[in-house]
Every structure is written in C-alpha cells, then in structure tokens.
Symmetry: C2
Subunit: 110 residues, 2 copies
C-alpha cells in the first residue's frame, strides 16, 4: 500500500487534492477538469483514498469525493523538525540583506 508521501508524488494527484480543497467533487467533474481518462482518475482517487487523503460518499450512482485534510498532518509532522532549520537560514539571509542595505546608505553619505 502507498504511503502518503508516495501518494503526493504524482502531480495529477496533487491537482486533485487542490481541486478538492475548494469543495467536494464528483468523479466526472474531476475528469472534465483534468486531462486524464475517467479510469485514470478513478485509479488516482483509489490511491488517495487508500492513503487516507480523501473520503467518498455515495449519492445514487454518483460518488462525492471529499478532502480529508487531517491526513496531511503526517507530512507536516515529518517537516516539523526541519522547519526551524530553513527559517533560521532565511532569517540570516534577511539580516545579510539588511546589512548590505545599511552599508549602501552609509556609502551614499560619505
């Protein structure tokens, strides 16, 4: 079975999630919005479902697919210990830029 990370690796699946972020959608809507055959979309939806990223609700012959954003907390959790590392770097970059700007101002005054 696919992990969340593998599920997110495919760009079409990420687009599906982006579309479901706005609202639940029928399979047919997603087929119209993306350029992949209906069976292709159904297969992607199954992967997303198995990974816990979406849920389905039956409505007669239709299927409403809905985002389950909680599933993304796992990715966020993995990312967590890295966050301060890149934020620290951006802070340092910002400081450097501030400093350069400061120096330039001083140059202008001499």
């Amino acid at each position: 079975m696919m992990t969340i990370f593998e599920a997110l690796a495919d760009p079409t699946r990420r687009r599906i999630l982006d579309l479901l972020r706005e609202q639940p959608r029928l399979v047919g809507e997603l087929v119209d919005l993306l350029e992949t055959s209906q069976p292709g979309i159904s297969k992607h939806l199954r992967v997303l479902r198995d990974a816990g990223l979406v849920s389905v609700r039956k409505d007669g012959q239709r299927r409403w697919y809905e985002l389950r954003p909680e599933a993304l907390a796992e990715v966020d959790g993995w990312l967590q210990p890295y966050r301060h590392l890149w934020e620290a770097r951006f802070d340092r970059l910002e400081n450097l830029l501030d400093q350069l700007q400061e120096e330039e101002k001083n140059d202008g005054q001499t």
Copy 2:
C-alpha cells in the same frame, strides 16, 4: 528530472535527509547507517542533489553531503493552504471531546 515531492516519496531518501539533519555526512557513513549498497546510496544522493535537497562539498577523495533545508520550503508552501483546514478540524474535535467530558461530569451529578 525528479521534483521534490518525488524525491521525498522514497523512504530511504527521507532517512538520508533525517540523518543529514543532525550533521553533514560522508557517503560511506550513510552506507554504514542504511542498508543499501554504496552505489545505491550514491544514486539516492544524486536524486536529492538534483532536487536541491542536499549539497556536496569535496574534501580530497571524500564527499560531504549537507542538508539544504530551504528546499523544503516548497513542500511547506504547498501544504500551507491546507493547514487551516486540518487545524480547524482538530479544533472541532477538541471541542467535541471537551463537550463529552462536560456531559459526563453532569451525568455523574444527577
């Protein structure tokens, strides 16, 4: 070329990043710490390098691989518009649990 999301899909590559989070490492160290052949590790490192997730520094015949955490900001950025969605859900769950606990307390008193 592989995107960051594809690079992160492989568990061995995620472990490499986790190890580099602590400190820069030589290829040989990673080979010892993970159970994959040296060429296997080198191939993963190339993928990570192409994705911008690590950088290399030559040191004689050795190569120090170092984490480039800024690259992960892209993943964080993709995740960003989802964050409030799952946080809202967790908040609601918390409220529900509080409420249940409250009701239980009241039941005890009757």
